[in-house]
């Protein structure tokens, strides 16, 4: 039995391709039934998210042709045209790939945890539709286990990476609790809105909105249950709030050091956190020199994101170590499954040879008495058992070897066993 995977993700295919090949939840049951029915796969699971579409299968053969045919028919696409966007994995590679996916190191946002829920959903869908049995079940359960370990034993899941969330993260370094803090949203850029949304979700008590077009400010204030202020009141608002998010489309600086100095006097030096997402910038960078004023423009935020990514890359190495550890465990289990079936196949093969030889020599042995015939039969059986003894000992040892699967495959080929033997259980 082999495990196969065929899929694409955000690094191999643009969104236009990904959306064409996605498997929305309603079509999953039918797709899984077809994979294990019409396409003759032993087991199957489909992991379909906004960033990836992957089919996992347990198959008698090594070929993934059935998966390609399924894809072509299910989505009515020409598989040849899409082939460059796909990656294919087999056996140990499949397990390693799925472990990486579950750990979040194959995700767009490294370490994101949503993928764990998506892997679990894919497994549940396969179980409910009778497509997940021994292999897929074990593979997915182990991937969820390693995903959980990665998040508890490393810092892969800590911190955030988008510009907007990095801003909120930085605010959390100035103010331990955002609850009870006030923020001022100056202008109405899309990213500023997103940042404001994260701040509101993080518990800030009040959001003031200032915009040159007061109607627009009122509209935004309504959405965030904040308060719209006339543009002229901006200076007063600066003294009252703890966080300022600015994203106007003004051609020059809207907030100058003098305004911040005045605000800081009002605040008696309490820290003021400023996020300038506008290009060109709204806040004069000279305010950075003021005590307890923390200004971050778009480049600063991107730098934070990059630094955070580098930090996570260090964590990726640790996660990779966990994956290797878990992969060994899975391969040991997988090989053990193959070992049992291979031993069974070898015994069957020896038995078939013995019978064939007896039949071939049947006419020449016809003069033998029943007792002598049993003696020859026993002799052949004993010879076969002795011949198989050492290979069987080795096969059991191969189950513990790192490249056990390949070794077992070699044994199959050596004895000319037609295709891989059937999985046990």
């Amino acid at each position: 039995m082999h495990i196969l995977a065929l899929g694409l993700n955000h690094t191999t295919a643009p969104v236009e391709v990904r959306e064409r090949l996605a498997f929305p939840e309603p079509v999953l049951p039918q797709a899984l039934k077809e994979l294990t029915g019409r396409y003759g796969l032993h087991e199957a699971a489909i992991l379909s998210t906004c960033n990836r579409a992957e089919i996992y299968a347990a198959s008698e053969g090594e070929s993934d042709e059935a998966l390609w045919r399924f894809l072509a028919e299910a989505h009515e696409v020409d598989p040849e045209a899409l082939r460059p966007h796909f990656y294919q994995h087999r056996d140990a590679e499949v397990a390693e790939h799925l472990f990486r996916v579950a750990c979040g190191i194959d995700s767009l946002v490294i370490g994101e945890s949503q993928i764990m829920a998506q892997v679990r959903t894919a497994l549940e869908a396969a179980q409910q539709n009778g497509a997940a049995r021994l292999l897929i079940n074990e593979l997915f359960q182990r991937s969820l286990h390693v995903g959980k370990r990665a998040r508890s034993e490393t810092e892969i899941g800590h911190g955030r990476l988008s510009i907007s969330t990095a801003a909120v993260e930085l605010a959390g370094q100035v103010f331990d609790r955002l609850e009870g803090r006030q923020a001022l949203l100056l202008g109405a850029g899309e990213m500023a809105e997103l940042t404001a949304q994260y701040l509101v979700e993080s518990g800030i008590s009040k959001l003031l909105v200032v915009n040159r077009t007061h109607e627009r400010a009122q509209d935004l204030a309504r959405r965030f249950q904040g308060e719209a202020l006339p543009f002229e009141q901006m200076a007063t608002a600066l003294g009252a709030v703890d966080i300022v998010i600015s994203s106007t489309s003004a051609p020059g600086f809207v907030i100058l050091p003098a305004a911040i100095q005045q605000a800081m006097r009002q605040r008696r030096g309490r820290p003021l956190f400023l996020i300038d997402i506008a290009v060109p910038r709204d806040i004069d960078p000279a305010v950075k020199e003021l005590d307890n004023v923390f200004l971050f423009d778009i480049d600063d935020l991107e730098q934070v994101v990059r630094a955070n990514r580098q930090e996570r890359e260090r964590e990726i190495l640790k996660v990779q170590g966990l994956i290797e550890e878990e992969l060994k465990g899975f391969l040991h289990w997988f090989n053990a499954q193959g070992t049992g079936s291979l031993i069974k196949s070898l015994h069957q093969h020896a038995e078939e040879l013995r019978r064939a030889e007896l039949e071939r020599w049947g006419a020449k042995l016809a003069h033998l008495s029943e007792q002598d015939r049993q003696l020859v039969d026993g002799l052949l059986r004993g010879y076969a058992n002795k011949m198989l003894h050492q290979p069987l000992v080795q096969i059991r040892e191969f189950a513990n070897a790192e490249d056990g699967y390949q070794r077992l495959d070699t044994v199959r080929r050596l004895f000319g066993l037609a295709g891989p033997p059937e999985q046990e259980g």
């Binding site: 810092e155 331990d176 605040r267 934070v304 630094a307």
Partner: protein
């Protein structure tokens, strides 16, 4: 000091060093287990240090206040216990990042440069209330050490943020600021009590031992002034500027210098 006592204190010194290095490594390289090991090293260091000092009390035959070893040791032990407890139960994290090296250098100084307080035993026997001065000053210094650690964390975190660097290991600025204020206020109350008792003794006690024992008390005044100014500006004027934290740092450094460097002379009366 007995050989056993030196062994205990030496072991404790090494554990403080290990703790300081592990905390620093954790801060620089972010390996969660290093901090845990650092915490364990400090905890064992405190326990062994306490046993060493107890042995010193029991076997040296000297008064607890006859030299600086037990005095500073109690300060180190108390400071570390507070640091370890706060690290576990409060939001002011990484205090031990600073307390561990302070403990190491404090104990190293004591072991390398033992300071005898001549005549202290008899003075303390004659004037037991002087123990209140010593005890209160000691607690004041514990508060100052913790305020110093919090203020330093505040300045480091502020500097990192100014550079646009995200460091989630250190507590948020407002947490460090509020911890600095609370530790400074508590330390100041004890320190003031200790200083007051010291001045009372200086002016009220009879005789000759006043002659050469005033330096230490007068040298405590700058620390008191630094902390008083900080508390006035922060508590009464409501100022929050980061420059205020330098008052705390200066206050602690002068207090530490006074404690370690200025010799205390007790001259027994006639």
């Amino acid at each position: 000091m007995t050989a056993a006592c030196i062994t205990f204190l030496g072991t404790s010194l090494l554990l403080y060093l290990a703790g300081a290095l592990l905390y620093l490594s954790h801060f620089l390289h972010r390996r969660g287990t290093w901090e845990e090991w650092g915490r364990r090293a400090l905890s064992w260091g405190v326990a062994i240090h306490a046993v060493g000092i107890l042995m010193h009390f029991l076997f040296s035959g000297l008064s607890p206040f006859s030299n600086l070893l037990p005095v500073i040791s109690l300060l180190i032990i108390a400071g570390l216990i507070v640091g370890l407890v706060l690290e576990r139960y409060s939001r002011i994290r990484r205090l031990n990042l600073l307390l561990a090296p302070l403990a190491f250098f404090g104990l190293l100084y004591l072991l390398l440069m033992p300071v005898r307080l001549e005549g202290a035993t008899s003075v303390l026997l004659h004037y037991p209330w002087l123990g209140v001065h010593v005890g209160a000053t000691l607690l004041g210094n514990v508060g100052f050490a913790l305020a110093f650690a919090s203020a330093t964390i505040y300045l480091v975190q502020g500097r990192l943020l100014k550079q646009g660097r995200l460091n989630s290991l250190l507590p948020a600025l407002d947490t460090a600021a509020s911890a600095t204020y609370r530790f400074a206020a508590t330390g100041f109350a004890f320190f003031t009590l200790g200083l007051g008792m010291g001045i009372l003794w200086l002016f009220g006690a009879p005789g000759e031992y006043l002659a050469r024992s005033d330096t230490k008390i007068w040298m405590a005044v700058p620390s008191w002034v630094f902390f008083a100014t900080y508390l006035y500006l922060r508590g009464l004027r409501g100022s929050h500027g980061s420059r205020l934290k330098w008052l705390v740092i200066l206050g602690f450094l002068t207090a530490a210098a006074n404690l370690l460097v200025v010799r205390h002379h007790f001259v027994d009366g006639p």
